[in-house]
Symmetry: C2
Subunit: 371 residues, 2 copies
């Protein structure tokens, strides 16, 4: 009897919670409308931090774990950003013409959509109408190249003459070669962009754009402002430095995951059994391998085979693997421990930070477990 | 002006949210007290599923995203489990004596704590009082071996004579050899346990225990009930099958991560720069490598060097790596794509499931980003 009464009380509070979320959503929709009108970025880090810090204080006063209210508010804000992902202010003249080359591709499509939501006039060039490119780029203030990485330089080299004041930009995940190709092909403003996210994100809030400056920054400043209005964050980097970083964290990581997937298949363990045993961390380890193979193999061919130093990097990895196998073969636990310590020292404080971050994420994974 | 009014409305709703969480916490504390008295498991999957499904329905009626209320409720329930992690009912006679060998180690300590919270009498054996083991195990109804994996079999072999009706159990991450050693050392009830989680979990709710049955299951049934009262989930497995699964998902995965860490150090990219560029997925990839090195190297030596088939497995991985390097060296994109497809086919529907799971987790990672 007692437990039924308590559960009814919980149910009643949870009903109030849903009603509260509905009320909050009605208010944030109005905030979104206001931001659109005045051209304020959808993501406001200062307001977000203040709001969370005040509610954390109140939670402590009421003996509620402040991390709980922070996690709940962050999840609610995700929803609020998505409900505001509707229309954005145009940060240059309304109905400015933008041409997206490859605008029917997965990523290109997202940019077509964002420009349309921001009151631009958008035209698309793809292989079917490439013959009309000269007339399509007339009046364009921005030509955005959004084609696969192995086609980017070639497409840029074959661009028709663009209007002198037109911005030429690309979205490729490597930046050095495309940027040079753009500077050569066009004498007006040029900028290299690398959106650090896939086409499947719900909106651009808190997503990172790497910007490699080309020429006449002042003239493409409105494009960077437009990206900020979409809620994204801009990180400047030098093209060559950026490319090397990408080869290490992207091409090499994917290559390693690919080999690990091949290895798993060679052993063919019973995945259903593995998953029933797995703790969140092992489940995530498996998921990080398996998720690669749900995606388009061509994408990984482009990234790995397109990386300038790929072969040198994988050979270094191979050498490190052989060294580790030798320690195992010789049962040399001390050598293993010493190598472990060297890597730990190199990671420094980051390893603890990574452990903390992944723990927090694994708690969410644990919340979602169902039996 | 308008935006200030809207923000005040949001602040007011968020204050109500914190107050609501405080009220809910007061009620769930009473539920915890009730569960302790009657010995009901802290985790009740049926109640949890019903509660979420009803609130999802209400959310849809009020045009709130049902995933939002589910995510928020799951996060709130995590907190509620932790607030109920206080005292548990003892599922055998109160003050039953339990001996934890290695009870000062990180994992052993957690079990000492759980038994004490459940009204058992707990004694610890470690290297300082091992000489008194014979007298310490007198009257014990459970002796739990919680020592490092490379010591387990030896410690079991040197156990003093246990009372005939005493349960002998261990917590090692491999099960075949310890289980055999326990069956040999003791003629009473024997069971092998593998808790699929580390010592840093906040409580045992939804955590998995692999159980490998030894002898006289009826006599250790109360121990399994005790584990369920703690909120954990029991998965039965056969010892040899379990060990092979562990070698693949645990030893080999750690070995690969270890080699990848060595590789990263050899390249020494600027981690601060990498992180400023990284999307949630690359940040997580880095974190999954770096987190290993925040932990005790000895643990990984034990897991990797203790795996019976480790050398055979790493040599298979090595062969797969060499095949992949050859495709890259020969610029053979078709071979790469074909191998990719073979692995994708082997993963089957799991790869899409893994992609979905990791996407949902990455959204949480994105919620937590701050600039």
């Amino acid at each position: 009897m007692a437990i039924d009464t308590l559960r009814q009380q919980i149910d009643q509070l949870d009903i109030e919670l849903v009603e509260l979320l509905a009320k909050r959503q009605a208010v944030t929709a109005k905030v979104g409308e206001y931001k659109k009108q005045v051209g304020k970025p959808i993501y406001d880090p200062i307001r977000e931090a203040e709001l969370i810090s005040k509610r954390r204080e109140l939670a402590e006063q009421l003996s509620v774990n402040p991390d709980l209210i922070e996690d709940v508010l962050r999840r609610i804000m995700r929803e609020s950003y998505q409900s505001q992902h509707n229309a954005y202010r145009c940060m240059t003249q309304d109905r400015t013409k933008v041409v997206v080359i490859g605008g029917h591709g997965a990523l290109g499509k997202r940019f077509v959509d964002m420009f349309e939501r921001s009151n631009f006039e958008v035209a698309i060039i793809d292989k079917h109408n490439i013959g009309d490119a000269s007339s399509i780029v007339e009046r364009a203030k921005l030509v955005l190249v959004a084609v696969p990485i192995d086609k980017t330089v070639e497409v840029i080299a074959h661009l028709p003459k663009l209007p002198d004041d037109c911005i030429l930009a690309d979205l490729t995940s490597l930046k050095h070669a495309p940027l040079n190709a753009m500077l050569e092909a066009h004498s007006g403003p040029v900028v290299g962009l690398h959106p650090m996210f896939g086409p499947d994100v719900p909106n651009f809030v808190k997503q990172v754009f790497v910007v490699c400056h080309g020429r006449h920054q002042q003239e493409y400043q409105w494009l960077l402002e437009q990206i900020k209005v979409w809620g994204a964050v801009i990180q400047e980097d030098e093209a060559k430095q950026h490319d090397l970083s990408m080869e290490i964290i992207q091409a090499m990581r994917h290559f390693n995951t690919f080999v690990y997937g091949k290895f798993l298949r060679s052993q063919s363990p019973d995945l259903a059994n593995l998953l029933s045993l797995s703790s969140p961390i092992y489940r995530l380890e498996l998921a990080m391998t398996g998720r690669l193979f749900a995606q388009d193999g061509n994408l990984y061919v482009d990234i790995i085979f397109g990386a300038e130093h790929a072969l040198k990097l994988v050979k270094t990895f191979h050498a490190e693997l052989e060294q580790a196998i030798t320690t195992l073969e010789q049962n040399d636990k001390d050598a293993f421990k010493q190598q472990f310590k060297q890597v730990a020292d190199w990671f420094g404080d980051y390893s603890q930070q990574f452990l903390d971050e992944s723990r927090s994420l694994l708690k969410t994974a644990q919340d979602n477990r169902q039996y």
